[in-house]
């Protein structure tokens, strides 16, 4: 798109605040450096040169929850890991999103037993579920793009006005 065609003579473009904020949120969404099982290997592959998630402004995996916007739950969550995961989620600043990557994080997968949470949505609210065991990096990137669509459609100013 040629931006210059929209600028006119005054060098000004008009849009809504929501669109600008959502655009900036989607294009610098920093995931948390956080892997639980084999899905984390695919998450690393999605970050590495062949798939390169930095195309979406996601090259920075933050090792601190206080600096990240997106939690990718890559792998099965055991009953002992659950409280840790919830704590990390609570430490992330608003706005924050969660992707449940793979079958184990989505519904327990093959681990239907006493030790594993049957879906990470028992602990944290999930925005996007990515199927696969493990999902290929393309699938994860598709999940991320689906989340971007969700964020772009977020009418947060209107929602806040409704709450008042």
């Amino acid at each position: 798109m040629g931006v210059e065609q929209k600028l006119g003579n005054m060098g000004v473009v008009t849009t809504t605040l929501e669109d600008v904020v959502n655009w900036s949120r989607t294009n610098a969404m920093w995931p948390m450096l956080f892997g639980l099982a084999c899905c984390a290997i695919e998450m690393m592959a999605a970050q590495a040169s062949s798939y390169d998630m930095s195309r979406f402004g996601m090259e920075l995996m933050r090792a601190s929850p206080r600096q990240s916007d997106l939690m990718i739950v890559a792998g099965r969550v055991s009953k002992k890991m659950g409280p840790v995961l919830r704590r990390l989620y609570d430490q992330m600043p608003e706005p924050k999103w969660v992707i449940a990557m793979g079958d184990c994080a989505s519904c327990g997968g093959v681990f239907n037993n006493y030790a594993i949470y049957q879906g990470v949505d028992e602990i944290v609210p999930v925005d996007v579920f990515v199927a696969g065991c493990p999902p290929r990096p393309e699938a994860l990137i598709h999940g991320v793009l689906t989340l971007h669509e969700k964020v772009k459609a977020d009418r947060f100013i209107a929602n806040a006005a409704d709450k008042k």
Binding site: K79, K80, G108, N113, Y114, Q118, D121, E122, V124, P125
Partner: protein, 170 residues
């Protein structure tokens, strides 16, 4: 059986009336629960079995007498020997004396056996669960522990299970 293992098994037979089985060169001695600590001590001090390389258990449910076998696998690094001691234990909530006084590795191994099988080790300095969360009820590796955890969700029972799911709030 290895030549150098024969006198050691003989000692166990004479002292504790242990029976032994051999399978493909591996020797297992059945020892009574009241003799196990003494047997371990003798093997460690007099026969160079300085490593307790494995401590595990088997559940023979629904058989109750003995329901469990506790297995001590000993290695001799000096003589390159392996010997297993099997201890049959009776009943639903069995008890054994702790081996932590003889082998320090027993500390975590016995906690794991307590966690998974519910076999108590009397005299253990820290008898907590080691792998599972403290609030878990039951002992997962027992054969009467339920296998599945949650009924799988299909289209015909989707809503029924969905209603019972503890979804997280923001």
């Amino acid at each position: 059986m290895e030549k150098s293992l024969e006198p050691i098994v003989k000692v166990l037979q004479e002292k504790f009336g242990a029976t032994f089985e051999e399978f493909r060169g591996e020797v297992q001695c059945m020892v009574k629960p009241e003799h196990i600590i003494e047997a371990l001590t003798i093997l460690r001090d007099a026969h160079h079995f300085e490593l307790l390389s494995m401590l595990s258990a088997i559940d023979y449910f629904p058989q109750t007498s003995p329901r469990f076998h506790v297995i001590y696998q000993l290695n001799s690094l000096e003589k390159n020997l392996t010997l297993q001691l099997r201890v049959p234990v009776e009943g639903e909530s069995p008890k054994l004396p702790t081996s932590t006084g003889v082998f320090k590795t027993g500390l975590w191994r016995e906690r794991e056996i307590f966690d998974m099988f519910g076999i108590e080790f009397e005299g253990h300095p820290d008898p907590r669960r080691i792998l599972n969360p403290d609030e878990l009820e039951g002992h997962p590796l027992r054969r009467d522990f339920p296998l599945g955890y949650e009924e799988p969700q299909f289209s015909f029972n989707y809503e029924e299970i969905d209603l019972g799911k503890p979804y997280a709030k923001e």
